[in-house]
């Protein structure tokens, strides 16, 4: 039904096009809108030829509460890490959680300190370089932290003295984008459990 009305409207308008009248008065849109203007809210379906129901947008019920976009928000907290301990950082090869001889030597020294400070609970923080996606790197960081934890357990450190966390690639020690920076970022840091 509506189609028919529109079709007839168009035939009429096509004739107008052919006559070459100025568009201001002759475009189909002009006509339909002026017809709609007379119909108040525009929700009344078709009366006069060319009148169309206006589909009203739902009032701005934006799903998800909005907060204004903060300019320059989310900057790094500068300075030294909270809970820093005199324990050596250990480093890893690319996409690896294996402990190299130097890493084991550093962990031997860390274990000695932890035995002397049995009351200090240590958080082992696993990190990766920036290459690869965030999800995989979170798992890889966790794996590195667990490799360190397992080694320390073998050295006699009680499991209860340790916790682990992975930051994946989100807390680089060096913000650079080359192998020198990446090598510094594939690491486990040691802090006091907050």
């Amino acid at each position: 039904m509506r189609r028919t009305v529109l079709f007839l409207t168009i035939i009429g308008l096509a004739a107008v096009f052919a006559a070459g009248c100025p568009k201001k008065q002759t475009t189909p849109i002009e006509e339909s809108v002026s017809a709609e203007e007379g119909s108040g809210t525009g929700t009344t379906p078709g009366g006069a030829a060319g009148a169309k129901p206006v589909e009203e947008m739902p009032s701005q019920q934006e799903p998800f509460a909005e907060e204004p976009l903060s300019e320059g928000g989310g900057t790094d907290a500068a300075g030294t890490k909270a809970g820093a301990l005199p324990l050596a950082t250990v480093y890893f090869a690319y996409d690896s959680d294996e402990l190299a001889p130097e890493a084991m030597a550093a962990l031997d020294a860390n274990a000695a300190w932890m035995r002397e400070h049995a009351a200090v609970r240590v958080l082992i923080e696993g990190n990766t370089d920036e290459r690869g996606t965030l999800e995989y790197n979170l798992s890889l960081g966790a794996r590195r932290a667990n490799a360190v934890r397992n080694y320390l357990i073998r050295l006699g450190i009680p499991a209860a003295q340790m916790e682990t966390i992975s930051y994946g690639e989100d807390q680089p020690a060096d913000a650079g984008h080359d192998e020198a920076a990446w090598a510094k970022n594939r690491r486990c840091d040691f802090t006091e459990v907050p």
Binding site: I29, E55, G73, L134, E135
Partner: protein, 437 residues
């Protein structure tokens, strides 16, 4: 074997220039990628979209903005070859609303749009006319508040035009969730699918990652470091964060909402190794799906909910695997390259896009499940990561540092139409909303 995409810009140009070029395209050869791409381009509808008419009460700038949003929507949809709005230099200005004039320059369809304003209420009238016989296929008026609803009005019209001319749903009203921020603070954000109207959804002051939409587009599940241990949460429409209660683990990560709207797949290292689990939001019941000493993470559901693709390094380096939703029938999907991860399953179920390290950079690869054929979708500088599909299965959103810092980018699934959606603070892990019913 993988193939890179053929060089496309010239091809697209030929179509926009006129229908004559399209007619000369060789017929697509089955199974030939280039043929498929050309076929797709050839199928584009030649569409005329002259400038939006400035109706009563409207300012030229408003009508111009409206027309631009509509044009961008129709262009990015990939369904249309849009003709030059001025009529290819062959249509006099007073005939720009004349279907016959557009027919002469090769347009199959003509879209006439007009913006009028009464007080603060905008009326957007859109007419779609087939240029051959002058048949009116669509003629509608949408009303809304201006300027607040200006972009939404254009998006609604664009989706209606797509539906009318293709029979398929448009995506102009969809949105993209992502995270943005520096290393130690990343919050969840939301934006329109074209990058407009960015707004922040969380303010935890911690790392948040991997937002993923519920199938009804009313919730997001995401990873947050807001608690003592990183774990998965829900964010509802009112901005309220709901704590999910998986039974523990040092790291519950990479959540993905199942098509059933109640199950979330995620990875957890509760056994000191990353494995994939499902969590039932209504009952709290958990099921372990993988059991392997390697890393298993980044699960994504198939659209049917019967299978899950994921990343595992059980073969010695990260690769894409597929298993049933109960964890059985595990098989390897990616076979080329040493480092493949971050899969996303297409809404039609037939394709998986994932990240692959190629010549030192991370690129997107499209894997067709029926044939095993792979196509490299991206090339050049910088990494492309965390791909996700648009709900129409014709577009892919991802994060990339191809021009410097990380930002959200989107493109069509044939690698064309690439555009950057975010600027400023680095942005990561996008997810494209389903179409809201």
């Amino acid at each position: 074997m993988r193939r890179a995409l053929p060089f496309l810009p010239l091809l697209s140009l030929a179509f926009v220039a006129g229908s004559a070029a399209a007619a000369q395209e060789p017929p697509a050869k089955p199974g030939d990628l280039e043929g498929v791409i050309r076929d797709k381009a050839a199928a584009r509808i030649a569409l005329a979209l002259p400038p939006t008419i400035v109706g009563p009460g409207a300012q030229p700038a408003e009508a111009g903005e409206m027309g631009k949003v509509l044009r961008d929507d129709l262009d990015f949809s990939g369904w249309f070859a849009l003709l030059d709005p001025a009529g290819e230099g062959r249509i006099p200005p007073d005939r720009l609303q004349d279907p016959a004039a557009w027919r002469e320059v090769g347009a199959a369809e003509l879209v006439i749009s007009k913006l009028s304003i009464e007080k603060e209420r905008g009326l957007f009238n859109v007419k779609v006319i087939e240029t051959g016989k002058g048949t009116v296929l669509l003629d509608k008026v949408w009303g809304g508040k201006l300027p607040a609803d200006l972009r939404r009005l254009a998006h609604i019209a664009a989706d209606e035009i797509v539906r009318e001319l293709t029979g398929r749903p448009g995506i102009a009203q969809t949105r993209i969730a992502f995270v943005s921020g520096q290393n130690r603070v990343k919050e969840v954000y939301l934006m329109d699918y074209d990058g407009a109207r960015v707004r922040r959804l969380t303010s935890t002051g911690t790392i948040n990652l991997s937002p993923a939409w519920s199938p009804d587009a009313r919730q997001l599940t995401f990873l947050s470091f807001k608690g003592r241990k990183p774990s998965i949460y829900l964010l509802d429409e009112n901005g309220k964060i709901i704590t999910l209660a998986p039974k523990g683990g040092e790291l519950n990560a990479a959540p993905d909402y199942a098509p059933d709207g109640r199950t979330i797949a995620f990875s957890s290292d509760r056994d000191r190794n990353s494995e994939i689990y499902t969590y039932d939001v209504t009952s709290g019941r958990e099921t372990r799906l993988t059991n392997h000493p390697a890393i298993d993470t980044a699960p994504v559901w198939s659209p049917s909910g019967t299978e899950i693709a994921f990343t595992s390094d059980r073969a010695g380096s990260p690769q894409i695997f597929v298993m049933s939703a109960t964890g059985t029938n595990v098989r390897r999907l990616s076979n080329e390259g040493r480092y493949n991860e971050s899969a996303a399953w297409s809404p039609d179920g037939g394709r998986i896009v994932y990240v692959s390290r190629i010549d030192g950079a991370f690129q997107l690869v499209l894997h067709e499940l029926a044939t095993g054929k792979e196509t490299i979708l991206t090339s050049g500088r910088g990494n492309k990561e965390n791909p996700r599909w648009s709900p129409d299965g014709r577009h892919i959103v991802f994060s990339s540092n191809r021009d410097g810092g990380y930002a959200i980018w989107a493109m069509r699934d044939d690698g064309t139409g690439l555009k950057k959606l975010t600027t400023g603070e680095p942005a990561f892990t996008p997810d494209w909303s389903p179409i809201r019913r």
